[in-house]
């Protein structure tokens, strides 16, 4: 469920076709995922899930898989996690 939502958010925010999306797609791998796209993506994910990534966590997010893992961590433990 989280995976599908992240896929939708990534495609919508970066304006890419679904077939471009992969589970290990990362920042810088495609022109659309540049630094500004990365920031917009994090903001979109935070807004959608009602969470706010800690700075230390957000700098570790580089791939779609990282996003899924991080959202799972935040939504499982409350926002933000201890």
């Amino acid at each position: 469920m989280i995976e599908e939502t992240i896929k939708t958010l990534v495609c919508q925010t970066l304006k890419i076709r679904p077939e471009v999306y992969t589970e290990d797609l990362g920042a810088g791998d495609i022109p659309e995922w540049d630094s500004l796209g990365h920031m917009n993506l994090l903001m979109a994910v935070e807004k959608h899930f009602g969470i706010a990534f800690d700075v230390g966590d957000s700098i570790e997010i580089e791939t779609t898989g990282d996003l899924v893992d991080m959202v799972r961590k935040y939504t499982a433990t409350g926002t933000p996690p201890a």
């Binding site: 304006k15 022109p31 659309e32 995922w33 630094s35 920031m39 230390g56 957000s58």
Partner: protein, 520 residues
């Protein structure tokens, strides 16, 4: 002196010292020279003659530095392009420059190859192509290329006024135009910059700005000229790694854009404060640095010497200013004329303005380009009486500090990338159902510092526009930084009596409709 002398002298003076590093490899001054000479020999063995153009489509990395200096040592002209350039623009540039050689990363090569004609030889440097490369274009790997001939330089006949590089920028019509820079142009600019910034052999900079642009490339040159070292990566996309590199590399300098620093201050300030504690200086340019950003950055990193400058590809850096040393009174200034450059303000009647009087910023000196590639006439309207007319508006105060106030030209500045609204409007107007389109730079959109591209479209009667489809069309047709951050449907566009889009009014209308956040 010629530009590649930087590397020839560097190998002699700083041989075993680290010159350049990326996430996977590094090169000392001696190694870098050897590799660049190997590439030079390979280029000559492939038929390159003095003055021939070589297009580089490489991301930031050691390979870019090897290749760029290889071209220069071969007596060629380097044409560095952004690795994400769209196919149509790349084809235009390859054709316009008559380049017979293209040296590119595998990903870029795979994307661009179908558009190239078979007379263009392609050298693949780094990466694996996403699919087998088509057979009609000859390709060779960089490593193999470096073994084609004995390393040596080919600088006989190259003169200081020979063109060293052609830097492509957005033209007033949206068609890329190549700014020719001679060896003397670049070296004059480097002398000015190094003198002001005070580079030493102890400096180490992390450069994530594109090396295909003068800003990033200038920082590479400055370090190599002084025995410093550069760690290079591609933008702030993997921001954690960049901040980690600043600390691990022992960076003393970290050049950036207001957009990049705005993002770091907004999202990652505590990490920047910790990992950037040894930074000595930061040159920030490509758009005005908001005073609140300056104050916030200075409070975060009190030891940091924050510097800004004003420049154009056609003139390199014309002014420089340490905001740290000048103080808040000058936080909105971009500095005073730098070294051998002269800066003045000219009024519409051609006279020079008195202090505090606004007019067009004009620049004169040894850094000014001799002209555009295959189009010296194109520069003539801007070059009058030896002064380059920038198209920017501003004034000088009584102490010679330049303050920018606006632009004469319709250009949007997105984090340093110049965007011509007409190019985007042409794409939009090619879409069925769009009766009219206007594009403007709007500040405070999408939570970013500086201008964002915002497009307004007017639907044809009875048509409901599919904005997602329009976005997709833009993504497919334009470089990423040109794709509108927002698409807004308006009933009509503000136009003048002659039909010209009133961009200031359009920007005001768009800003009023969009949610905005204060910068920083």
């Amino acid at each position: 002196m010629l530009l590649p002398q930087i590397l020839l002298d560097g190998a002699e003076r700083f041989g075993p010292r680290l010159a350049v590093q990326d996430s996977t490899t590094e090169a000392s001054y001696a190694t870098l020279l050897h590799e660049a000479l190997s590439i030079a020999a390979g280029l000559r063995a492939s038929g390159l003659a003095r003055g021939d153009r070589v297009v580089l489509v490489l991301p930031n990395g050691v390979d870019f530095v090897r290749a760029h200096f290889g071209v220069l040592l071969a007596g060629g002209v380097s044409v560095p392009l952004d690795a994400t350039i769209v196919t149509a623009n790349a084809r235009h540039i390859v054709d316009a420059t008559g380049a017979r050689l293209l040296l590119g990363h595998a990903t870029a090569v795979a994307r661009l190859l179908p558009a190239l004609n078979s007379s263009t030889r392609v050298i693949v440097a780094g990466g694996d192509p996403p699919a087998p490369l088509p057979p009609h274009v000859p390709t060779i790997g960089l490593a193999e290329f470096q073994t084609l001939a004995e390393p040596r330089s080919f600088l006989d006949g190259v003169r200081p006024d020979s063109v060293a590089a052609i830097m492509f920028t957005t033209g007033s019509t949206g068609v890329p135009k190549g700014v020719c820079l001679t060896h003397a142009n670049v070296l004059a600019a480097l002398r000015n910059i190094c003198s002001y910034v005070g580079y030493t052999a102890a400096d180490r900079e992390v450069v994530v700005l594109p090396l295909s642009h003068n800003f990033g490339l200038g920082h590479l040159y400055c370090n190599l000229l002084n025995g410093g070292a550069v760690f290079t990566a591609n933008g702030l996309t993997r921001v954690g790694r960049v901040l980690e590199a600043i600390e691990r590399f022992g960076a003393t300098g970290f050049p950036g854009t207001p957009l990049g620093y705005g993002m770091l201050l907004d999202k990652y300030a505590p990490v920047l404060a910790t990992r950037g504690r040894n930074l000595r200086f930061a040159v920030i340019n490509s758009a005005p640095l908001p005073p609140e950003c300056t104050a916030q950055l200075q409070a975060l990193l009190p030891q940091l010497d924050i510097m800004v400058y004003y420049g154009l590809t056609e003139a390199s850096r014309a002014t420089f200013l340490s905001l740290t040393r000048a103080g808040p009174k000058y936080f909105r200034s971009v500095g005073r004329a730098l070294g051998s450059s002269e800066v003045a303000i000219r009024l519409e009647d051609g006279s020079f303005a008195a202090p505090e009087t606004s007019g067009e910023v004009v620049i004169r000196g040894p850094t000014i380009t001799p002209g555009y590639w295959k189009g010296p006439a194109a520069l003539e309207p801007a070059l009058r009486d030896g002064w380059l007319h920038s198209g920017d508006l501003g004034y000088l105060d009584s102490t010679g500090h330049l303050f920018l106030t606006g632009r004469l030209k319709d250009v949007i500045n997105v984090g340093g990338y110049k965007v011509n609204p007409g190019e985007i409007e042409a794409v939009l107007l090619g879409e069925p159902g769009i009766a009219d389109a206007g594009v403007a730079g709007v500040e405070g959109v999408a939570g970013i510092t500086g201008e964002a591209v915002v497009a307004a479209v007017v639907a044809a009667p009875g048509v409901t526009l599919d904005l997602a489809a329009i976005e997709t069309r833009c993504v497919e047709s334009l470089e990423k930084y040109k794709v509108p951050s927002r698409l807004v449907v308006l009933p009509s566009l503000p136009r003048s009596e002659t039909g010209k889009v009133l961009r200031t009014e359009l920007a005001r209308q768009l800003a009023a409709r969009l949610v905005s956040r204060p910068p920083c």
